[in-house]
Symmetry: C2
Subunit: 201 residues, 2 copies
Amino acid sequence: MTPAFEKLQKQLRQLPGLGFRSAERIALHLLVEKPARLPELVEALQAAAATVRRCPRCGNLAEDGLCAICADERREQGVVCVVEHVPDLVAMERSGAYRGVYHVLHGRLSPIQGVRPEDLNFEALFSRVADGGVRELILALSNDVEGEATCHYLTQHLPAPANGVEVKTTRIGFGLPSGGGVLYADSVTLKSALDGRRHYE
Amino acid sequence: MTPAFEKLQKQLRQLPGLGFRSAERIALHLLVEKPARLPELVEALQAAAATVRRCPRCGNLAEDGLCAICADERREQGVVCVVEHVPDLVAMERSGAYRGVYHVLHGRLSPIQGVRPEDLNFEALFSRVADGGVRELILALSNDVEGEATCHYLTQHLPAPANGVEVKTTRIGFGLPSGGGVLYADSVTLKSALDGRRHYE
Ligand SMILES: [Zn+2]
Ligand SMILES: [Zn+2]
């Protein structure tokens, strides 16, 4: 086609789930079939990039102040599910099996990929625990060596809550396939994984 | 998630081939995982929207002047394949079975959807024929009532070439499933459809 068309197609191909043909189909759709949608899409991308930021409490996506989950008083604010990434949180929410809140680490420890504790969202979590607002921590990290290392680091560095409350730490485990995270697990698997969580330390 | 996130997801869902989950996955990718890609994508979209236009000769995508196919002297410029949409042309090109050029109508006649002859790219085609540069017209329009009506209109209104050359008109037909266009046909089907084209008037 044309250079600008091919550059757009190349950008689209880098998005998850889009191959050569689907990127081509979308580029044609935006340039030929429904050109009115292109500026609308650009506007939505720019608006999202300008307004979406991290929730200062949990690391989830938010706009002003706390995210919708941290701000929801019907959620059990004392039960905190620790996940690696926002899509993991989305998968948990989709399962409908969970009524607590979250903490998103935005990764997991990996000596090989050079991810160190200071690269992850640990400090905000340790503050939440130290402040005494956490009664239970559910570690929903991947069922592999790096997830294990992250769980280990986390429990080793967990501060004592100011109010002397004991924090029960469990690790989601039952049902997660070996080597896999929560992102690609279906709702039933996540439900059983939550039910089968066990004490962890 | 957040309102801006949901608006972006809604825009993405309107793109062909993207459902709720794939739109969500792409939005998360652009906002959380690879935020550096978002401005790159916006730039590619805007650049394509600003530079890509219709080829003045055939209606295909072009930037400055003629499209790459009309400008290619190795293509048989006297053999013109008439298609409904640019993606049809792309599917034909992908088959590798065709060495002529194209004419894109950008639709087909449809009394029901209110598509009239003046809404389609007929005039430029009639000019090409009148100018005497067309030796063969291959009608690669859909194998249904509207495709048939479009073929009929086209042959009824074809002007006499200035140089007295006879235009051979064929209709691609063999191999296209009933009710279907060339867009979703595989390369083998398109190859056999081209080979089996028959005289049409
Ligand atoms: Zn939050
Ligand atoms: Zn052209």
